[in-house]
Symmetry: C3
Subunit: 345 residues, 3 copies
């Protein structure tokens, strides 16, 4: 099997510089490619490899086409065309119907014959699975949860009771969906009283959730993840959070309780979103940024104070941070003195 | 079932403005409430909803009572009263005794008949469970561990051998208790030698541990989590750490090895506590703060350098950070020049 | 059993101040020690305990030997000698061969009789285990993965298909190896298209991976973890990352996709490494540091802007951060005015 360059160009609207009948069979990096493979360039870091790649063809932007030493598929979005081509050349395996004997399936659970349930999976009572759902080894689907058609739950995922997940979702190993939110109230003695977490988690269609990511159930109403949301690994999503359609969030980011994030946002890794704030649609936040108050206008936001620096230089600068307000006051005082002396003249 | 406003007021010391015989049946948000429900206001963000809520009653602070358009239960701590009322209206299900046939229980494990052990759970040899302990699906309880009465281990929790957990605790999915601490020593060749991790983890009563949180066992002595501690999701607790009673820590925070945290502390999400330092009782640390040295006085501490800002503005400011020490020196020099010229006059 | 001080001194090149025939039986902290135990001092924080310890012997550096009130084993690297002594006095249990009946082992999986496979483990088709491999309870080993001799997979670990792990590795509970990387491309409508993740994860010998750490598979080629690497808990390793031999990384650190980290690096907890950058060999990065661009020289780097400070003082300083560029400009303006006025004189 393979794809001809002519077919790729036609299907994904590329300009082709090269032989339309040339066939590529698999994808490769620019550096690792051979004649049977197709590569792409989407990050300028790797541009120097364009001239030496052994790939049969490369997907490039118009600006990079010139430098390409082999057949070029020219498009304004090389990474997107690559995604399509890679999915055609290396399609995901279809779900093989069958239920392992080493599973536990509760009473009144609805598991269609088109589903795959792997060994060690536990499907609790009253669960409803759509067609062709995949449940990986040792995953747990809590009582009454519902999963839509073609959703894939990889090995070792924990879904609490009452969670609703749409169609064509992918949940990766170790994800925990629907644990209690962090709701605690202090009593007169200083001890914490648990606040019952009575809501659920509602996840739309085409959502992918990374390994070991945790999404808490709502306290009263629901935690809501919109269609097409993409969450990376080790993300914390607090109770009552809502995330709008097609928002993507990178690993180790924390979203505190009741935050509302709009559609089509991109949030970098290790960022933090404070509780009860709102981020509107179409906001991009760089990695590591603490979002401590609402972002009410679309646009690009950053907030990491400093990148890695020589440790002695960094220590001197970091020490000054705690003097920053004092420095600002001294600066203002000097300005006044200068103004006055200038005015005096 | 339900609760009358008069009963709530009497039980939790509220002043009631409204009909004491009016009965509420479930909790709701101010916005989502109907006449049969009771809501609360504990965050000023939602105050504007007080005038339009359809709730049968609202739990409010004295300052907010005026603005409330319906029956008001007035108290100085609305969230605490809400926690109690919610627990009464929506009690946690009792643990249903029974051991699934699809479990593995080791020799000499003590599992009272009042316990629930769900499918796929593995209870190793010499484990001791208290009365009414709940072990969720596919959880693993390592050899010789002890869990006190009424503790609930949700699905997919991993407890290593030799861990001791008190009464009435809740451990959420994916939590890992008692893995080896990060103890490594560099040898002459530059390779790491593993330092045996010989201690255990000792957890008190009434502790709640969030999804995918990891608590390492001690290197020589034990890692100790006090009574009433509340840990959110995805927290890292290093070896030999001790956390005092009733301390609460939010998600994605890391506590490095041998840190000692006092009682009744509150630590925000994404914070970091350095190794071998001490935080005294009654310290509050805001989210994202790096605690790099001991905090010896109770009080409030912060440390995030910057919140999200327009990306161009942020880039200009962040670039200046690496010049901060130089700026401070230039400021001092100017001050001296001015002093001198003023003195000269 | 036990070790004589003379034997320890001879085996690990220590100078002994004390009776060579004195035998110690177990390790202890300086504070918790009794006469039968050996302790060590590697952190100055605990130096004051040297004078009062009840240990039979203490492993110390030459500088601390004087202050030691008991027998001293003097070495330039007390922590390393301690690691060796602790491993001798408290050896790890040998793997007990045997396969629990409550496991699922796929067709053509190669599981030598010297292995231990605990209850609930699922070993998929075509897996190859080396000699004396330990597979903990409820762990999952995906199709076609290979694990080398003497590797230990603790309870609840998820290994995706096609992963290769070397000899003598330890993987802790909840670790997820080989999940899909975060590869998504935006289409014209604003929706995300999944980029197939076709590579694998290749892990060398003597690697230890902490609880709930996630290592993604490569997008096209492989994610590669070198020999002797030590990863703490809750670390995110993105697709295509390579980490060189004997590098150690502390908890909650994130390594974004395609980053290349050299050999013998040490990266503190809660640090972040941006995508597609390179860190050369022998770099040390302090905890919490964002590494946003390549580090091309060995050495020490830091980058946390600020440690915890009194909250009012911190708020004043943090507010100034967003004025930093403006302050720098005002400072420059003042300098020019002073220069000019001085020049004028």
């Amino acid at each position: 099997m393979g794809l001809s360059l002519g077919d790729i160009a036609a299907r994904y609207g590329c300009e082709l510089r090269g032989d339309p009948d040339f066939v590529v069979h698999h994808v490769a990096t620019l550096k690792g490619a051979d004649r049977r493979s197709i590569a792409f360039l989407a990050n300028a870091v790797y541009r120097s490899q364009l001239g030496t790649t052994k790939a049969g063809a490369v997907i490039v932007s118009p600006d990079d086409a010139e430098a390409c030493s082999t057949a070029a598929l020219i498009t304004s979005n090389p990474y997107l065309v690559y995604a399509h081509v890679a999915a055609e050349l290396h399609p995901a395996e279809a779900v093989e119907p069958g239920i392992s004997p080493a599973t536990t399936i509760g009473s009144d659970a609805d598991v269609p014959q088109s589903c795959h349930v792997a060994a060690g999976a536990v499907i609790d009572a009253d669960v409803t699975l759509g067609e062709r759902v995949y449940i990986g080894a040792n995953s747990v689907i809590g009582r009454g949860s519902e999963l839509g058609d073609d959703t894939r739950v990889m090995a070792g995922v924990i879904i609490y009771p009452g969670v609703r997940i749409g169609r064509r979702c992918i949940l990766h190993g170790g994800a925990v969906i629907g644990a209690d939110g962090f709701g605690i109230a202090k009593d007169e003695s200083g001890a914490w009283i648990k606040v019952p977490q009575l809501g659920a988690v509602i996840i739309g269609d085409d959502v992918e959730i990374g390994a070991n990511t945790a999404i808490d159930r709502g306290a009263i109403e629901n935690t809501v993840i919109g269609n097409g949301v993409r969450l990376d690994n080790l993300i914390q999503v607090g109770h009552n959070v809502s995330i709008g359609a097609d928002t993507a969030i990178a690993g180790l980011t924390g979203i505190a309780g009741s935050a509302r994030i709009g559609a089509r946002c991109i949030i970098g890794g290790h960022a933090g979103v404070a509780g009860h704030i709102e981020i509107v649609d179409d906001v991009v936040v760089t990695g590591g940024t603490p979002v401590l108050s609402s972002l009410k206008k679309p646009g690009y936001y950053g907030g990491v104070a400093t990148s890695a620096d020589d440790i002695r230089k960094w220590r001197r600068n970091a020490a000054r941070f705690s003097q920053l307000d004092e420095m600002a006051r001294r600066l203002r005082k000097l300005e006044k003195q200068i103004e006055k002396s200038t005015g005096d003249e």
